[in-house]
């Protein structure tokens, strides 16, 4: 169990988030091969083919909290926030009042190439996109750390988490209209790999000396045909079958778990010294086939100790705690429902950019971005400066702010005779653990890639 918790925490911390599917700083980088992912009206003046596994790897994360909100150094060890020697005030200062948010994404390009045919430029790519979103109520952290010291009643509603993975098979093409305007469009077929989520819509806890009461409602769903869903009779007798999570087994998947479609639109207007551009990306959805679905009933659990057998003084305390724990867990019995289908929207992202060419090798730009996400919408304003060295080497720096705080990034795009290399960050990770895991509030992303150029 400890390994699972640490692995999940590490994976979430490592996942650096994509506000876009590639660096925002890359929006104004000249001849950046993957700029079409930000605006399909953009394309390089060369054709390329991606090196498998290295063509474009991107990861980013944004959150109100970091790994160091949950773990602390103490006497040479790393301890959790629930360690008795860690002060509650220190723990709670690491979280925002209200709802804390996390958004993380890893994009891996599996295949990419571009071609020119009869004056038309086309790009084809296959990407594996993975996202994690989570919301964490402040009250939940306060409850776990302070217990009943923080009060007798807690509203722990609002804990949600979702992990999604899908394949994106896209084809993009820009086309010029007249001398100044370029339109672009990218269509993509989506193949769902897996979708898992848990929503706790309502969870209220009341603890007092006469009675403990917990009431809530939650649902869980998963789309992965490799699940072997185990069920058991409800011990509480509320209904026939509940999901037996510890006995769910995983098999190899037999096929996709969802299908979908998406489209990106973009435009770029070249006015000589000025360029104005706009795009809408990830207009689309995936139709998921959830083979795991369950929800808790709208009931409450009450414990007043009356189940403890206090007669001859045998096993009372152990039985009391056991009854309390079992009763509490019984409350979160997810009734096994029939399979269901659900439509999941992609995180629609809109951008508007302005670029000013100062000279043949220097330009400045401004970019506004809004990304819609069910749990974690992101708005960002960013300014950048791009310097082109000898028509082959781009160096771009950017600064900005989003709803998670200030951001600054840098990117380099190196175009050799037959090789294109690029690397960059959209914000810096700050302090890292010994294992190079970002520790602080996350508002960072990183990218690197290598492609053959023709």
């Amino acid at each position: 169990m400890k390994k699972i918790i640490l692995s999940i925490a590490t994976a979430v911390a490592i996942c650096l988030t994509a506000q876009a599917q590639t660096l925002q700083t890359g929006y104004f980088v000249d001849n950046y091969a993957y700029a079409y992912r930000l605006n399909p009206a953009f394309c390089p003046d060369y054709t390329f083919i991606g090196l498998p596994g290295l063509s474009m790897d991107y990861a980013s994360a944004q959150s109100n909290f970091g790994l160091k909100s949950f773990f602390y150094p103490l006497n040479g060890k790393t301890v959790t926030f629930m360690h008795p020697e860690i002060q509650a005030s220190e723990v709670l200062s690491g979280f925002k009042q209200g709802i804390n948010k996390l958004n993380a994404e890893i994009d891996v390009n599996l295949l990419a190439f571009s071609f020119k045919s009869r004056g038309t430029y086309g790009l084809i790519d296959v990407n594996l996109r993975n996202t994690i979103d989570a919301t964490l109520p402040y009250e939940m952290m306060k409850f776990f750390k302070m217990g009943a010291e923080g009060g007798q009643s807690y509203d722990l509603s609002g804990f949600n988490t979702r992990a999604t993975s899908f394949l994106e098979i896209g084809i993009a093409s820009p086309w010029r209209v007249g001398r100044t305007v370029t339109f672009g469009m990218r269509t993509k077929a989506l193949v769902g790999v897996t979708d898992l989520y848990m929503n706790v819509d309502r969870l209220n806890v009341k603890l007092d000396r006469n009675q403990w009461q917990v009431s809530g409602q939650a649902c869980v769903a998963g789309a992965y045909d490799g699940f072997n869903i185990a069920a058991k009779p409800s011990a509480a007798g509320n209904y026939e079958e509940v999901i037996d999570f510890p006995n769910i087994t995983l098999n190899k998947p037999k096929g996709p778990n969802g299908v979908g479609f998406g489209v990106d639109f973009g435009v770029n207007i070249d006015l000589g010294k000025w360029e104005i551009s706009a795009s809408i990306v990830d207009l689309g959805c995936i139709f998921w086939w959830h083979n795991l679905y369950g929800h808790t009933p709208e009931t409450s659990w009450t414990y007043d100790g009356s189940e403890a057998t206090v007669t001859d003084g045998s096993d009372t305390f152990g039985k009391t705690l056991e009854n309390a724990a079992n009763g509490f867990l019984e409350m979160f019995q997810f009734r096994k429902e029939y399979e269901n289908q659900e439509l999941g929207l992609l995180p629609i992202t809109g951008r508007v950019g302005v670029k000013r060419l100062m000279s043949s090798d220097l330009s400045f730009g401004g970019l506004l971005t809004y990304r819609y996400n069910e749990f974690c919408p992101i708005f960002e304003a960013r300014a950048s400066a791009d310097y082109l060295l000898r028509d082959k080497f781009d160096f771009t720096a950017s600064v900005g702010v989003n709803n998670f705080g200030p951001v600054f990034g840098a990117m380099t795009n190196l175009r050799f005779s037959h090789l294109v290399l690029f690397a960059g960050v959209d914000a810096y990770a700050g302090k890292l653990s010994k294992q190079f895991i970002p520790l602080g509030r996350m508002n960072c992303s990183a990218l690197f890639g290598a492609n053959l150029k023709f």
Binding site: P73, L74, K77, G147, N210, V310, Y387, K434, Q435
Partner: protein
């Protein structure tokens, strides 16, 4: 753009990138290797755990532990009849309302202090003093566990029982649980006169009991 400006811009961009990358410093005090993470947690701090149902100690239970022959049986129960030369005050009766503590994984659990709260409702015409001690699974007294509990329960009547609230504070040495329960000891402080009837249904009832953990329960990794 002049060449000076170009050079300046290159330096600024290089410095920007360098400073940013240099800001990603490694803090070795955060080591997530498996053998360095300590999963010790503290829970239930300040929480009161209800213990629920009441426990009844009848007059028969009490008196059977005290000196024999101090009650005569009557149609309705008992009549006090203490023989000359017998001293009833100071006699003790012990019972163990909370047991099975050592059924927890005591190698992993630390409890710095716990408080057992209870109300004693007494409808016997007997005034009682109260103390407590920690016991093992065989109900033998365990040393090294500080049990602070003192008080007295006034005599009561069937129509008007006395109720006394008590708190018993248990502090195991070093938080180590080496006991299995605790015994409440009732000591007779005042006994009614000879000829006083006591119905067989009368006795002492424990009500509204709950456990609280001022410093929580620590599960050691």
């Amino acid at each position: 753009m002049t060449s000076v400006t170009r050079h300046l811009l290159r330096v600024c961009l290089a410095a920007f990138c360098s400073v940013g990358l240099a800001s990603c410093v490694v803090d070795n005090s955060y080591d997530f290797s498996e053998d360095n993470v300590d999963w010790t947690v503290n829970v239930l701090k300040g929480a009161d755990l209800p213990l629920g149902s009441s426990q009844r100690i009848s007059v028969g239970d009490l008196i059977s532990s005290f000196a024999k022959g101090i009650l005569d049986v009557s149609d309705d129960g008992y009549i006090v009849n203490v023989p000359a030369g017998i001293t009833v005050t100071g006699q003790k009766f012990g019972f163990v309302p909370v047991h099975g503590i050592s059924k927890m994984d005591t190698d992993k659990i630390r409890i710095n202090s716990a408080e057992y709260h209870l109300d004693l409702k007494n409808d016997l015409p007997v005034a009682l003093g109260i103390t407590a001690e920690a016991v093992d699974a065989d109900d033998n007294r365990v040393e090294g566990v500080l049990v602070e509990c003192s008080g007295s329960v006034a005599a009561g009547t069937e129509q008007n029982p006395s109720t006394t609230s008590l708190t018993m504070k248990v502090t195991p040495a070093g938080g180590v649980i080496n006991f299995d329960g605790f015994r409440i000891i009732l000591t007779i402080e005042q006994f009614p006169e000879n000829g006083t009837p006591i119905g067989s249904s009368r006795g002492v009832t424990i009500l509204n009991s709950y456990l609280s953990f001022p410093e929580g329960i620590t599960h050691i990794d």
